[in-house]
């Protein structure tokens, strides 16, 4: 078994994408949604999150390390695929390609987003409604954020589908079909939550 880590890494990659990264993403989008209730509501919610006890511990072990592993190993997975949707234009093959494409877009978006918010916060800038309002004041950045959010949510929702297959939860074609509908409903619902929140800053 020595030197035979691929199975473990793949399963870890699949698990971390849902727990904790996917759960964190959902929570993050829900907290952002406070922006639709006005600047004060958002600032209260943001300061609640910022002032959570064990904040750095939570950030490192719930967000950064799992995200880092998922991102780096995911990039490796994405670049070992040889996409062939032009020859095999089946639905799942498109989803396979989109999962890898949105993964790369999400990585670019999240890197930028962490730099713009979390790193600047560490350098002393306060994270609040005005910070985001200033960012999305630029229509190009608003567009970038919308693309980033939709791509992230798609990657999560479709990843949830492959998580169910990879762990042997959905075995029959029927259950996989139903889960396609369920995860696409999650994609639509979370996209609405995310886009409404970002538009509340604009």
């Amino acid at each position: 078994m020595a030197g035979n880590r691929e199975f473990f890494y793949r399963r870890l990659h699949s698990l971390l994408g849902v727990i904790p990264v996917g759960i964190f993403l959902t929570q993050h989008l829900v907290v952002n949604y406070f922006a639709t209730r006005g600047p004060e509501a958002f600032n209260r919610a943001a300061s609640f999150m910022v002032n959570l006890p064990f904040r750095y511990f939570l950030e490192i072990f719930i967000i950064f390390l799992p995200l880092l592993f998922h991102a780096i190993y995911g990039l490796y997975i994405a670049f070992t695929a040889q996409n062939n949707v032009s020859r095999y234009g089946y639905f799942r093959n498109w989803m396979f390609m989109l999962q890898r494409l949105t993964g790369v877009i999400t990585l670019i978006f999240v890197t930028w987003h962490v730099w713009e918010t979390r790193v600047r916060a560490a350098l002393g800038v306060e994270v609040n409604y005005d910070m985001m309002a200033n960012i999305v004041d630029n229509p190009f950045m608003l567009g970038f954020y919308i693309v980033g959010i939709v791509s992230t949510v798609f990657h999560f929702a479709n990843g949830l589908w492959s998580f169910c297959v990879s762990w042997g939860l959905t075995v029959t074609p029927r259950s996989q079909q139903i889960f396609t509908y369920v995860t696409m409903a999650i994609f639509v619902a979370l996209s609405i939550v995310g886009i409404r929140a970002i538009l509340a800053f604009a």
């Binding site: 040889q82 020859r87 297959v165 990879s166 042997g168």
Partner: protein, 253 residues
């Protein structure tokens, strides 16, 4: 008699395993009920290309001629399939023939599928019945299960699923869907189940089960209609259980 009908074929050819591929066009007389193999045989009988130049006959693999051996697989009009069941009347012309490039090309349309047979050895796709003493008759298999297993046993190691899979390529060492589904078949057999864990361990190794990216091209492409993605998902479940057994311990060795 009707006027002379012809068939146009564009064949991707390659003279040596390491030489560059090139296309050659052929125009051959039409006969009713031809398949791609009889068209290739016509080229072999009279190796003259569409420009009227004499050329070498096209090389390809074939054996059973009834879609059970898998040897004559090639890419026909963009899709991998068996050339024996590819009927000329049902194909759009010019008919484009290419080798399945996922495998090393030996010459023209002939490829080397050795990696698939190596994978079958790796996953122990057989039922050991030889011993130093008479093992006696094996346990009976319920008829319903036999019928179910028969579907999985239709695999002819043709390589179409590997050709269609985006994760089987020179950048990865994924063994592909066919040998994985064979693990499910032999693990389902009452005697074969005695080596269930060994087979699962084999596909939980490098290049194994976890490399599947769920593009599901395999199940769409399989000429035998084998439920390959169901096999993979079922094995994922078995592997999950095996993983916990290995880590936490179990008496089911």
């Amino acid at each position: 008699m009707s006027e002379k009908k012809t068939i146009r074929l564009i064949v991707t050819r390659q003279d040596r395993p390491d030489s560059a591929p090139y296309e050659e066009e052929f125009e051959i007389p039409y006969r009713p009920n031809m398949n791609v193999i009889s068209a290739l045989m016509e080229i072999r009988r009279n190796p003259v290309n569409a420009k009227g130049e004499k050329t070498t006959p096209v090389t390809w693999d074939m054996n059973c001629l009834e879609e059970v051996c898998g040897a004559c697989s090639m890419v026909i009009n963009g899709k991998p399939r068996q050339s024996c069941t590819a009927l000329i009347d049902k194909l759009e012309q010019p008919i484009r023939l290419e080798p399945m490039r996922t495998f090393p090309v030996v010459r023209d349309l002939q490829v080397d599928r050795s990696r698939m047979f190596d994978s079958l050895k790796k996953v122990k796709a057989w039922i050991p019945i030889d011993g130093t003493y008479d093992l006696g008759p094996g346990p009976r298999m319920p008829e319903r299960k036999r019928q179910w297993a028969y579907e999985l046993s239709k695999c002819m190691t043709c390589g179409v699923c590997l050709e269609a899979c985006p994760n089987v390529n020179s950048k990865s060492n994924f063994i592909g869907p066919a040998p994985l589904s064979q693990v499910r078949l032999f693990n389902a057999h009452p005697t074969g189940a005695m080596h269930k864990a060994e087979r699962l361990e084999a596909i939980m190794g490098d290049g194994g089960l976890a490399n599947c990216g769920n593009s599901q091209n395999c199940v769409q492409s399989c000429p035998k209609g084998i439920p390959l993605t169901t096999s993979i998902a079922a094995l994922n479940r078995e592997a999950t259980i095996q993983m916990f057994r290995n880590f936490f311990g179990s008496d089911e060795v």
